[in-house]
């Protein structure tokens, strides 16, 4: 598999090569795609954050924030996209992660002259930054992208300092991060996931040792005895997300449960809209 950068470059070149005259005007490198279709809740949020909401003509079913997106046509679940459906929106570009599919649809779209940008979903900082820069370039708001990256870096620095200070007083707490999906069985973030990265950034210890996202039994969660339980749900917020947890809460009395509903998507999505803070 190619590195994300090389892939993006190739995709970009390929997209430009196949653009037919029937679609948008023949683009030079100065012309930016005006009609955007985005697949992946987090990506869509970034497009909006970079000021591209007006360019969006269609989003997938995981793109739920901000609420104004609900008015846009939905192209379906990102793994089962419909070529003709997307083409009916006359897009110039389709952005998404490697989760987009099925592959024949993507190649059909490329043949139709739609630029298909596949961004990496690796949950680490360098990927995040390069993706942001790429999006910024495509949206024509590189400055905004740089700003966002800088502010994010700043936030992370602040966070690291705070963690260092906190760790002088006590050891890192054991944490489990649960990602829910509208109330269905929440999954525990394992090693190498975005949730894991988040926990580390916040100075906690991820008690889960598996890779990827897996469903744990209540007993298993209780057995791990987390001191902090973070619950992120795509749709539910606040008390509603708490209700969705199993009745017998996997925390002892010492555990605090924190809820951050804006952590986007349940699969290996790498982008977080804002960092997660908690107090031990």
């Amino acid at each position: 598999m190619m590195r994300p950068h090389a892939r993006l470059l190739l995709g970009l070149c390929a997209g430009l090569f196949f653009l037919p005259s029937a679609f948008a005007a023949q683009p030079s490198s100065a012309d930016l795609p005006q009609r955007w279709v985005s697949a992946g809740g987090a990506l869509t949020e970034w497009v909006v954050a970079l000021g591209g909401e007006s360019k969006l003509v269609g989003v997938d079913t995981t793109s739920l924030h901000p609420d104004s997106l609900k008015a846009l046509p939905k192209i379906g679940y990102q793994r089962q996209l419909s070529a003709e459906g997307i083409l009916s929106l006359r897009p110039n570009i389709l952005v998404g992660t490697e989760e987009m599919g099925p592959p024949p649809v993507l190649s059909q779209l490329r043949t139709a002259g739609v630029q298909v940008e596949v961004l990496s979903a690796e949950p680490d900082l360098p990927t995040l930054k390069s993706n942001l820069q790429q999006l910024g370039k495509l949206l024509g708001s590189e400055d905004k992208a740089s700003q966002l990256i800088a502010s994010y870096d700043q936030q992370l620095d602040d966070q690291h300092r705070w963690v260092e200070q906190a760790q002088q007083h006590q050891s890192a707490p054991g944490v489990l991060l649960l990602v829910g999906n509208g109330g269905s069985k929440p999954m525990v973030a394992g090693v190498g996931t975005a949730g894991d990265w988040l926990i580390k950034q916040a100075g906690g210890r991820n008690l889960a040792t598996h890779t990827g996202y897996k469903v744990f039994s209540v007993e298993a969660m209780a057995g791990l005895n987390p001191q902090v339980l973070v619950v992120a749900d795509r749709e539910l917020a606040g008390p509603a997300a708490l209700q969705a947890l199993p009745r017998c809460r996997p925390c002892s009395n010492r555990t605090r449960c924190w809820l951050r509903p804006r952590l986007a998507a349940k699969a290996d999505c790498w982008i977080w809209t804002r960092p997660c803070w908690w107090v031990v």
Partner: protein, 345 residues
Amino acid sequence: MRVFLQPRPLFIILSVLCFLAFWLSLALGPVSLPLVDTLRAAIRLTGIPIQGDNLEQAELIVGQIRLPRTLLGLAVGAVLALSGVAMQGLFRNPLADPGLVGVSSGAALGAALAIVGGSFFGGLPDAFEPYLLSLCAGIGGLAVAAMVYRLGRHNGQTSVATMLLAGIALTALASSTIGLFTYLADDATLRTLTFWNLGSLNGASYVRLWPLLLVCVVIICWLPRRAKALNALLLGESEARHLGVEVESLKRELIFCTALGVGAAVAAAGMIGFIGLIVPHLVRLLAGPDHRVLLPASALAGASLLLFADLFARLVLAPAELPIGIVTAFLGAPFFLYLLVRGRS
């Protein structure tokens, strides 16, 4: 006394329906193309150079997206309907359906195993992937069909109840095995496993179409030649034997044919249920159980039905798409229940 349609009017009606389904499938879709453009693009595709401006988009949509999809729908619909007829002849029961009996799940499991096995060796070679998938799906379907048949046989009689129950058990086994793979897999290759559960004609391409078309042609050419023998088989196995039919070899052919057909269909489009149940039933209602009429009529009717269902699936939620397995289930399950109720009275 029930009046049946004569074969000739029936075939005329079904051919017109199929033709209509074909053209509507090419002409309609989320992208609205003027009908003239569709026609011109279609003519262009056959190689005849015809004048027309702005035809690139039409040619692309019609030629690259809609035409392979339509052909896929035709082939899957025909093959599933014929497999249904074969299965109902084999079990001598009009409620037998490859999906209900577990053959579709077996085929899906076979394909899933091919994907899992392929990922061990670093991915399946692109050129062979559709053929390999079809083959493995066919083997999976064959294994289940043979098992169900064996389980349902007792003392020379076929118990339909046992066969359906065995089908339920084997479907559960196949589905949970696929679920296990999905659960254990983090790898991108295995994400396609979720594809099998709800069939869809989405993403149809000519490459994926070939194995299915091949199988379709084989089945369409071979099954109707056994029409008379299938009729005799309905009398009963001994009666068929006394009429000179080589019953054992016929049964093997039917099992093989069903597994091959369902396997190819599942490999190409995922699990699409109830076509094998609804279509032969409707055709029998219209034209009687004679296989000489039933087989070709079911192929035409199955193709038409699937194309119409696909049209609905494509347009109802545009620009998103409903998996066609949902549409056929919504049509088929109530129909099945209705048949059960009617059979009792």
